[in-house]
């Protein structure tokens, strides 16, 4: 499968500050989560992809177009939803979306029809006729999202799309992103700080730190724990149950949610041992599932590693 975005040794300097430090990145079709602490270079990366800032060095292709050369062609094929509010005061919601459609080349009448269709898709009702400066954060997010997809782009770049949304609206927006990517065949780059958003919709995760790609893998692969571990929930945790597990040389730990994580040599023997111990200690296992690496732990581990100086560097100091 060909990557949609392929970047090699991308460097972006802002005077003395290096925002992107040799980024090598392949973004595959599907939904990719772009994670990173503040100042990691996420916004610079997005702006470099869109051709909004000139890159200092490096090469790349975006949807088959050359980076830093075919900026207009790239922006023609991409729908960008910025993190910040960006609107023209005095316009109504539908006018903003129509304006975005016109800038992307939709004819006037067709652009208006399409704007209404997309606002319907985004669940904007009569408030679309109100001046945008009177909108709530959620409504503005919807208008920004509608403006990003009105021209039917192949690829979406969504910068903090769920920021400021209530749980219901957040869920609805993630659902729309899934619909676009699963049913309409689009791909998306989702830059966010909200890890559960990435966990719920993304196929691939990229973690940036200090201007470098620290991790780029599929979410399924990242979630998989290397040693056989299961997470169980039981009706009541008894001392006998825990003692028997430890006697069988199983690693046992209690999680924050009250569940028990048990690690063994293989998944099959581990499962049969668990049932045996439960039977012997008259404990009822309510749920049993393979344990996963949490995205939060992956993120923290990656960022901490990125910020820990290497032994060579420490020695040099």
């Amino acid at each position: 499968m060909q990557p949609l975005i392929s970047l090699r040794s991308l460097v972006k300097n802002y005077r003395d500050h290096r925002a992107l430090d040799g980024v090598d990145l392949d973004v595959m079709p599907g939904i990719t989560g772009l994670l990173g602490p503040n100042g990691a270079g996420k916004s610079s990366l997005i702006k470099a992809i869109l051709g909004l800032v000139s890159i200092t060095s490096g090469t790349g292709t975006v949807l088959g177009h050359r980076l830093a050369v075919d900026g207009k062609k790239i922006r023609n094929d991409i729908g960008y939803m910025p993190e910040d509010d960006c609107y023209i005061p005095g316009m109504t919601g539908v006018e903003v979306v129509h304006f975005a459609a016109s800038l992307s080349g939709l004819p006037k009448v067709e652009g208006m029809r399409r704007s209404h269709e997309i606002l319907d898709f985004c669940d904007m009702k009569q408030e679309r006729y109100r001046a945008i400066e009177t909108y709530s954060t959620g409504m503005r997010q919807k208008v920004k999202f509608a403006a990003a997809i009105v021209h039917d782009p192949k690829f979406l770049i969504l910068d903090e799309p769920t920021s400021g949304l209530d749980p219901e609206e957040r869920e609805a927006l993630l659902q729309r992103i899934s619909v676009l990517c699963v049913e309409a065949g689009k791909s998306a780059l989702l830059s966010t700080h909200i890890l559960p958003d990435v966990q719920s919709v993304c196929d691939q995760v990229v973690i940036l730190s200090n201007g470098q790609v620290r991790l780029n893998n599929s979410l399924a692969e990242l979630n998989r724990i290397q040693v056989p571990t299961v997470e169980i929930s039981v009706d009541r945790v008894t001392g006998g149950f825990m003692k028997r597990l430890e006697e069988r040389s199983l690693e046992v730990s209690t999680l924050d949610n009250g569940n028990i994580e048990v690690t063994g040599e293989s998944l099959e023997t581990l499962t049969s041992e668990l049932w045996r111990v439960a039977d012997a200690s008259s404990t009822m296992i309510l749920a049993l599932k393979p344990a996963m690496n949490s995205l939060e732990s992956i993120f923290m581990k990656t960022v901490i590693e990125a910020n820990t100086p290497s032994p060579e560097a420490a020695d040099a100091r």
């Binding site: 909004l52 960006c86 023209i88 304006f99 067709e110 209404h116 898709f121 669940d123 039917d152 049913e183």
Partner: protein, 363 residues
């Protein structure tokens, strides 16, 4: 759920030409600007002088065609009395010239009423010495130039000041530039789109009425052959509009790009216009008082080199100098310093705008 919810549907159709996409920016800006009650009032006020100039076209046209009888009696009396009071020098030129009596009367009237304005003297001489078609051309050009210079030139100050300052500052404040630049729009197209918002309004109050006046003049003429002698007037009108529009809009857009607060941009625009002009007028009046030519004020001293140089401080004066050349009343040698200043102002403004709209992209 909305009534027409169709879910997400792919869209595929022919896109508009990339070459004309900047016009979307202009069209939306024009649409927003015309919602303003202030702008609507200004547009109305800017069209009022057209009536005055229309009457001027009518009277001059009638007088030149020998239909003095159609003129109001008071104006007929004035023309006759002025013609009777012509200087002996003008009388001699009158005898030598082929001019008809009515054109001579108009020339005399111009010399009597506007004798301190060099361009009017030039016009009157042309009426006395030129043939009928060249005289008509000169009169129309003069009417157009005065229309551009006095009522509309000043109206533009207010119209540009009302529309332009918010155009870029508002985008910076509301971060709307991301809406533009995340689309297939370049910075040049953005500037072009913004430029044509005030430019369209300027054209509405200068080019459109001037072309209307020209057509009115043609229709008031005995036959359509006047078009052959005045074909250049519409072209001069268009070039005159460009001279008026390009530097003023560029400067106003530059001020708009320098701040997030539109009111600061408005203030800077008016201050730039007023301070430059006031400085020049101060020099002119100082010179006039020192040489005893202030009462009555002798406008011909503005043509004196030591005073004229200071005119470069005034945007209004520079535009006037170049328009004088555009409408054929000044030689190029008089216009080029002003033209150079306008060019430098425009280039400087565009460079600043370009830099300013690039800077928000820097994180």
């Amino acid at each position: 759920m909305p009534v027409n919810h169709l879910g997400y549907r792919p869209w595929k159709a022919k896109l508009t030409s990339a070459l004309t996409r900047w016009w979307c920016i202009s069209a939306s800006g024009i649409s927003l600007a015309q919602k303003s009650a202030l702008v609507k009032r200004m547009l109305f006020a800017a069209w009022l002088p057209v009536l005055y100039w229309g009457v001027g076209f009518f009277f001059v046209g009638q007088a030149m065609e020998g239909k003095v009888d159609l003129l109001p009696p008071s104006l007929q009396n004035q023309i006759n009395s002025v013609a009777n009071k012509m200087s002996s020098e003008d009388r001699d030129r009158l005898r030598a010239a082929k001019s008809g009596p009515n054109r001579i009367a108009v020339a005399a009237l111009l010399k009597q009423q506007f004798k301190r304005i060099p361009q009017v003297n030039q016009l009157a001489d042309n009426l006395l010495e030129g043939d009928e078609s060249s005289s008509r051309n000169r009169v129309w050009c003069w009417l157009m130039m005065s229309f551009f210079r006095y009522p509309q030139g000043l109206m533009i100050l207010f119209l540009v000041g009302a529309i332009t300052p918010s155009l870029i500052s508002r985008d910076i404040r509301s971060r709307a530039f991301l809406l533009y630049f995340s689309r297939p729009i370049s910075k040049t197209e953005y500037i072009l789109g913004k430029f044509f918002i005030p430019a369209t309004f300027i054209a509405l109050v200068t080019t459109l009425p001037a072309i209307g006046l020209y057509l009115f003049g043609v229709l008031m003429s005995p036959d359509l052959s006047v078009v052959t002698s005045t074909w250049d007037v519409p072209l001069r009108i268009i070039v005159g509009t460009v001279v008026l529009t390009v530097p003023t809009v560029s400067v106003a857009l530059m001020f708009s790009s320098l701040t997030q607060e539109s009111r600061f941009a408005s203030f800077s625009w008016f201050a730039f216009f007023a301070i430059g002009h006031a400085a020049w007028l101060a020099v002119v009046f100082g010179y006039a008082f020192r040489n005893g030519r202030a009462m009555p004020f002798d406008m011909s001293l503005m043509e004196e080199p030591s005073v004229k140089l200071w005119g470069l401080l005034s945007l209004f004066n520079n535009i006037g100098e170049v328009q004088g050349w555009v409408f054929g009343f000044s030689p190029f040698s008089d216009a080029w310093p002003g033209m150079l200043v306008l060019l430098l102002i425009t280039v400087f403004s565009l460079v600043v705008i370009y830099r300013q709209i690039s800077s928000p992209m820097r994180v």
